[in-house]
Symmetry: C2
Subunit: 349 residues, 2 copies
């Protein structure tokens, strides 16, 4: 296989994640022969630069995928539902960064540090998990492997960029209005398609995505179901509370876990995570060293700190997990999957 | 007892909490005969209005408490340590809103909705708990009483006003600098007296107060120890992760509890909290009704919503608890204690 001849398509090339995908492909010097940038009809015609060359974004149609080897989708679930099968039909492998296929039993849901081997059983589509799930499982997998994992309780502190460029704009506009004493009308968050919209600037909103009938939000159920699927632990106890914050980029998570081994020290967990793939340990309380979203922006890693043993349960641990939701949470994980496809020899030429 | 003749002193009258204490005393039409406003030497001379009359704030000295019936302290732990005993010596009952005496076994730590009777055993000083503890125990006490309580895990989303007026200024200045593309130097948060200072605007900082040797912060240990003391449950399992957010006022908490009864429904918990003292239930997911700090500001209540049964453990429940940290978390709880002193006939005249 001559990898430099790969034809890559990015669907949703003008969006917040699409832009990060292009930066990441550039940074990784991904072996691209031909690059096709696609979007909705609305954004078609936009000019985008990649490695010094200007590309004109085209409207995505089934025919756009003729000759494409790997198609990175990040243009919303409905676009993926409509066009991913068309891309597969034309011989492309799709890495889909929407929730369209994540829970499809036929589709591998992959975080390379955790379950890279699942890529091997793909049937054309590989799903990229939800941003808040990815960073958590990267931190938990080394612990599960060595000490067993029985329970996960997570409360999230999520950035607005997870809801796209319109949400970033809304936070900026509201912030400016508030600091200059002007009025404003919330229009996007917590969920673009839901009935009511609330202030996000200087606020904390305990709703991400719509509510399900069980009182959990879709975002919370994504974290729960995707964690079980990625870790191959259908009966792992997982519960999530997802909260949107006035942070532009960088999700944080307060994670409580129970492990099977009850004689593990904080030092042992720290040593394990220090050398874990994709993880950067930032955990020196006496020097005030711990992860924060403002420091994680632009970096591909998952930062872990504030590791403490529960004061009551010997097998309980608390930790604070932070990552750039647009990179490891989306663009970087998608490109990593594409790199794994090459490494595993799974891209047909 | 002629309650209208009470002599009230407010120590720290110019601070964020002191100002809210005055507003609350005014709003409650508290039976004040004489009002003495005290502060550090630095703020002495400041003019403050109360019920249309202008008061000049005086420097607090031992002699300031001559003739005082109730002294509300909120000027920092060192001031309380120095002057609260002097006030008591002169016959005043002290309601102390600092951490100076909270864990002193001789000092009742009181949230009137939870343990008003503890006031009866006071020896001159009654401590007002930490803001983040107060709102949590108000929500948990009705549940403990009816269904038993065995475990509490809380992740907080705390406003900067908990760190005083300087922290509010810092958030405002940083926010303005960032939206106008200017540089800034963090000087106050996460902890004024700690070595390093970090950006709070558009960030989430997992440190409130300094670190203890066990890796928990003082704020986290306050929540843990104070909850046990207020609820009279020395062996209750409690663990906290405390996080500072770019929110001016209003603390939020993602609370997971385990109760003793494993056949309780969400509806039963909702019905219980709907009628609980100090609690306002805001829990209609299908109408996007849940508590948020931006809505809680200026209100004395503890708002509870997002009540869900754990998906794996029948005795586990999740909830989202929000309150104005300067009111129920500080000023209003202190004034409530003062009202309880009158109601219980414990103010000597």
């Amino acid at each position: 296989m001559e990898t430099s001849s790969l034809h890559i398509a990015v669907v949703g090339a003008t969006g917040a994640v699409g832009q990060q995908m292009l930066h990441t492909l550039e940074k990784r010097n991904f072996p691209i022969g031909t690059l096709t940038l696609l979007s909705s009809a609305r954004s078609a015609g936009t000019k985008v630069e990649f490695k010094g060359t200007e590309y004109i974004v085209q409207e995505a149609t089934p025919e756009s995928f003729n000759g494409v080897d790997i198609a990175l989708f990040s243009a919303g679930g409905s676009v993926s539902k409509q066009l991913a099968p068309e891309a597969v039909k034309r011989g492309a492998v799709v890495v889909d960064n929407t929730s369209a296929y994540r829970m499809d039993p036929e589709v591998p849901l992959v975080v390379p540090e955790v379950n890279e081997d699942d890529i091997k059983r793909h049937k054309g589509i590989i799903a990229n998990p939800n941003c808040s799930t990815i960073q958590m499982v990267v931190a938990l997998e080394p612990i599960r492997k060595k000490y067993g994992l029985s329970k996960v309780l997570v409360s999230t502190y999520q950035a607005v960029s997870g809801a796209g460029a319109v949400a970033i704009n809304e936070l900026e506009e509201q912030t400016k209005a508030i600091v200059s004493g002007e009025s404003f009308e919330p229009k996007v968050l917590p969920v673009k398609g839901d009935k009511k919209h609330y202030q996000i600037a200087f606020n904390a909103v305990p709703q991400i995505d719509k509510f399900e009938e069980n009182g959990f939000t879709f975002e919370e159920m994504k974290m729960i179901n995707e964690t079980k699927k990625i870790m191959h632990m259908p009966s792992l106890k997982v519960t999530a509370t997802c909260v949107r914050l006035p942070v532009v980029t960088g999700h944080s998570e307060s994670v409580y876990i129970e492990i099977e081994d009850d004689a593990v020290s904080v030092k042992e967990i720290q040593n394990l995570l220090k050398d874990a793939p994709g993880v950067v340990l930032e955990d020196i309380p006496e020097e005030q060293v711990y992860p924060m979203p403002a420091n994680a922006v632009g970096k591909p890693d998952v930062f872990v700190g504030r590791i403490r043993k529960d004061l009551d349960d010997n097998n309980g641990f608390h930790m604070w997990v932070v990552s750039d939701n647009l990179l490891k949470g989306a663009a970087w994980n998608s490109v990593q999957i594409a790199e794994s496809l090459i490494k595993l020899g799974l891209v047909k030429k």
